[in-house]
């Protein structure tokens, strides 16, 4: 039995995302949708195995906008539903969201945004809290694991009470952290779906679901906010701990509450600092916040990344001279805390040290000096493609084809593990100079390819992953074809949404519920658009190289190369070697070769190492995944591959 269905009263160690999933189950959610993205993916991953037992429909949607649309349909039919995404997914969904918050909803609809301050697994640290203010939807932010569960459950009730979307915002340190959660009861009966639309236009429960008349519906949404504020004033998710008259009032939310509590404790400031932890962060409950603002003259607002909370507290204070007179606000605008990156207990403690002008007891200077000296000699561990990763082989061929072509071609990048080709340029052999949002590589390539009249003659290539192809690339590809953009588009098809944990996508024959579903073939889509399409195994360097060289030379057409090879970490491949690799020391000439350590200096596979004693290349058997590609790159043919015993036994 999945842990997510633990009986009421049991104490379970849940990932923040599992706590959110459990909260949704306790609310009686019927439909849950998402597009995978770190740190959000585990919400749906943990719900999927519980689906059949809880009469739940779970879907990995093609992108976040469609995920929200699918969830909204369920809400319109009176069911409780949720759509889950990472921070930039909210941008993808935002056009629909703008209209959805105007039409209103029926069954409780919760939008979960799991954000990544500090961009630990992202190429942005985008904020979606501003969407809450901009689109006037209530925002909830859990500060621990129990609250993640309880708040999610309540979010559905709130959404239903006001007839609009509720946003629940988590962060990496909540979604991907784990803690004890006491489970509540799972409801007995699921609802039946019914969609009524014959009622009056202004009646969101029986009328048509549309955003017009715009001004009237907007005013209605404003009115709903009053009901929200009234509920927020009494919410148990807002709590104050500390003295009755603190020297400093610290206002915070989300995981920052845990950092703040730790920092206050570390510095022994419990008698001076009061902490107002807010769980309902937009709209702010005015009476509650005012009540605490009156208690202190100095106020510190602790939050990640932008100053959303600080701005809203200041707007509230500015409306009442009694709340703003003689007050000093510390936060991001005065430089006490940074406007970028994630926080931690040390950063909050340093801010308190500055405000109170105190010293922080710590390690002896001799220990700190020893630690500093040791840290200075440590080689960093750069992110790199895994041993056996198809992307390394793909970029090797892309680089060589561009070099052979000789016109200075380059690759417009996209979002996936292959982004590492841009993040650490040596991983992509220096071929990939752009990286933005999902699908934007193809759009940029389409634009670069039309710059010829302005003297731009370089061949333009672009890459995307298989899941990204469906998510956002297709419109850009149609644009390229229709507008005669001469580009070489490469699909790095590793057979699943690999970076986030192998969630299925529309190219797979199985969905989140493990049902058999029709796969949408990338090659067929590209051919239908009018592209010339080839499919290769990227581990076959010679075949891949020859197709790429031909494609680059061919003018005035849209060319698509699908490089298909499963991810080295995929469940079907992980831990299984196709080949046993070794370096024949009699053939490897080491530094005397003239290849200038092509294998270890340029190819950069974590398993192909340099033996400092022997001054020759060597294979680290513990790290090697047995893909066999390195055997093709050694000019001396000193890297040998033989069929691995496990591969031979299972027929390879």
């Amino acid at each position: 039995m999945t842990r997510l269905l633990a009986p009421a009263g049991s104490k379970v160690l849940f990932l923040g995302n599992e706590a959110i999933a459990r909260g949704a189950l306790e609310a009686g959610v019927s439909v849950a949708t998402a597009y995978p993205g770190t740190p959000s993916s585990e919400v749906i991953e943990s719900l999927a195995p519980a689906a059949s037992k809880r009469n739940l429909y779970v879907e990995w949607s093609v992108n976040e906008k469609v995920a929200l649309e699918v969830a909204a349909a369920a809400s319109f039919a009176g069911l409780r539903s949720m759509a889950v995404m990472k921070q930039n997914g909210v941008n993808v969904a935002s056009d629909f969201l703008l209209h959805l918050t105007a039409s209103g909803t029926r069954g409780g609809l919760v939008l979960v945004s799991c954000e990544d301050p500090g961009a630990l697994s992202s190429v942005n640290e985008g904020e979606s809290r501003y969407f809450a203010g901009m689109l006037e939807m209530p925002l909830l932010e859990p500060a621990d694991f129990q609250e993640a569960k309880d708040m999610t459950k309540w979010a559905f009730e709130l959404s239903e009470a006001i007839g609009n979307v509720v946003m629940l915002r988590s962060v990496t340190r909540m979604s991907h952290a784990s803690g004890n959660v006491v489970c509540g009861t799972l409801p007995a009966k699921a609802r039946k779906a019914a969609f009524e639309y014959g009622g009056p236009i202004m009646d969101s429960q029986t009328g048509p679901m549309i955003s017009t008349p715009v001004v009237a519906k907007h005013l209605l949404r404003r009115q709903k906010l009053k009901a929200v504020c009234a509920l927020f004033e009494k919410s148990p998710f807002n709590r104050y701990t500390g003295p009755a008259r603190p020297d400093l009032l610290l206002i915070t939310a989300s995981a920052c509450w845990l950092y703040a509590a730790e920092a206050v404790h570390m510095l022994g400031l419990q008698k001076k600092v009061g902490i107002l932890k807010l769980g309902t962060t937009w709209p702010l409950p005015p009476r509650l916040v005012s009540q605490y603002l009156r208690k202190a003259r100095r106020i510190l607002i602790v939050e990640e990344v932008m100053a959303f909370l600080e701005e809203n507290v200041k707007v509230l204070a500015a409306g009442n001279p009694k709340l703003s007179e003689d007050k000093t606000f510390f936060g991001k605008y005065d430089g006490t805390l940074p406007f970028a990156g994630e926080l931690n207990p040390d950063i909050v403690a340093d801010a308190l040290v500055k405000i109170f002008n105190i010293r922080r007891c710590g390690l002896s200077s001799s220990y700190q000096e020893e630690a500093r000296k040791t840290a200075a000699m440590l080689p960093p561990r750069e992110q790199t493609f895994c041993a056996g990763c198809p992307h390394r082989a793909s970029f090797w061929s892309i680089h060589n084809a561009i070099a052979l072509d000789g016109r200075g071609g380059f690759v417009c990048g996209d979002i996936g593990c292959y982004s590492m080709a841009a993040l650490t340029p040596a991983n992509g052999f220096g071929t990939m100079p752009t990286l933005h949002s999902m699908g934007s590589g193809t759009g940029l390539a389409s634009g670069f390819a039309r710059l010829a009249p302005f003297g731009f003659k370089k061949p333009v290539l672009t890459v995307c992953g298989d899941s990204t192809f469906y998510h956002a690339v297709i419109p850009a590809l149609i644009n390229a074809r229709h507008n005669r953009a001469d580009i070489t588009f490469i699909v790095l098809d590793n057979q699943g949404t690999a970076m986030t944990g192998f969630q299925p996508h529309p190219g797979n024959e199985m969905n989140a519920l493990r049902e058999s579903v029709p796969a949408v073939d990338i090659a067929a889509v590209c051919r239908a658009i009018g592209a010339k399409v080839a499919v290769c195994d990227p581990f076959d360097l010679s075949a891949t190289g020859s197709v790429l060289t031909d494609f680059l030379a061919e003018k005035d057409s849209l060319k698509v190369l699908i490089l298909r090879q499963a991810c080295a970490l995929s469940p079907e491949k992980k831990g299984k070697k196709t080949f046993e690799m070794k370096v024949d020391e009699s053939l490897c000439l080491g530094d005397a070769c003239g290849c200038n350590r092509l294998c270890t200096r340029i190819f950069r596979c974590p398993a192909l190492v340099w033996d400092r004693k022997k001054k020759k290349a060597a294979v680290d058997e513990v790290v090697c995944a047995g893909c066999g590609v390195c055997a093709s790159i050694c000019p001396r043919k000193a890297i040998l591959k033989s069929q691995a015993a496990s591969a031979a036994a299972s027929g390879g």
């Binding site: 845990l258 220990y367 000699m377 080689p379 590492m420 970490l569 350590r597 190492v609």
Partner: protein, 204 residues
């Protein structure tokens, strides 16, 4: 060895290189401690950070309350490292004169070392740094034990066995057996128990 019940929060950092089973080890350890009645907070990151990079899990083991998922600098009580360079990296941020360290001795070269741009510290340098920056440390080849048992990734369980052997945390063989049965197949459970026992016996 059975350790008595903790009365204050213990902070443990588990570190290694992506793919070494860091997350599995932290979950198993936390699972045992939650069953024993502790409030455990694990802070970790996964996703792209796994791809050949350093990985780290912070475990806060408290008798009563949820703690920050990030340990303050200099705040580790115990560090368990699946790779020695990562042991040093964590030690220089979270170490203090009282910290205990268990480290696997098998190195995994970072790309900068493979390309020849950087040097991997020698075993002697590593030992000197461990001696200066810890109160006590254990350094042994857990990967070799894993390889003997048929899979190098078992080094994570070997390290958990060793951790139990030190008595630094209130965990034992029976608790691990119960935890591993929740997730693994019977065959895998037996193999994991062998790895745990081998690790336990590494601690003299």
């Amino acid at each position: 060895m059975k350790t008595k019940r903790l009365s204050v929060t213990k902070n443990l950092v588990l570190t290694g290189v992506g793919g070494q089973g860091n997350v599995m080890a932290s979950r198993a350890l936390a699972g045992m401690l939650v069953d024993a009645g502790y409030v455990v907070t694990i802070g970790e990151t996964f996703g792209m950070s796994q791809r050949g990079g350093s990985v780290m899990s912070h475990l806060r083991i408290s008798p009563d309350a949820v703690r920050s998922p990030q340990i303050p600098r200099g705040g580790a009580d115990v560090i368990v490292a699946l790779e020695p360079l990562e042991a040093l990296r964590v030690l220089t941020v979270y170490g203090n004169p009282e910290v205990s360290l268990l480290s696997n001795s098998r190195s995994i070269d970072p790309i900068g070392v493979i390309t020849g741009e950087r040097d991997y510290p020698s075993e002697e340098t590593i030992r000197i740094a461990f001696a200066r920056l810890t109160a006590r440390y254990w350094l042994f080849d857990a990967t070799a034990v894993g390889l003997d048992l048929g899979n190098p990734v078992l080094s994570n369980v070997v390290m958990l066995g060793a951790l139990a052997g030190t008595g630094l945390l209130p965990i034992d063989r029976r608790m691990f057996a119960k935890e591993i049965r929740k997730t693994g197949s019977p065959g895998k459970c037996a193999l994991n128990m062998k790895a745990f026992d081998a690790g336990f016996s590494m601690i003299k």
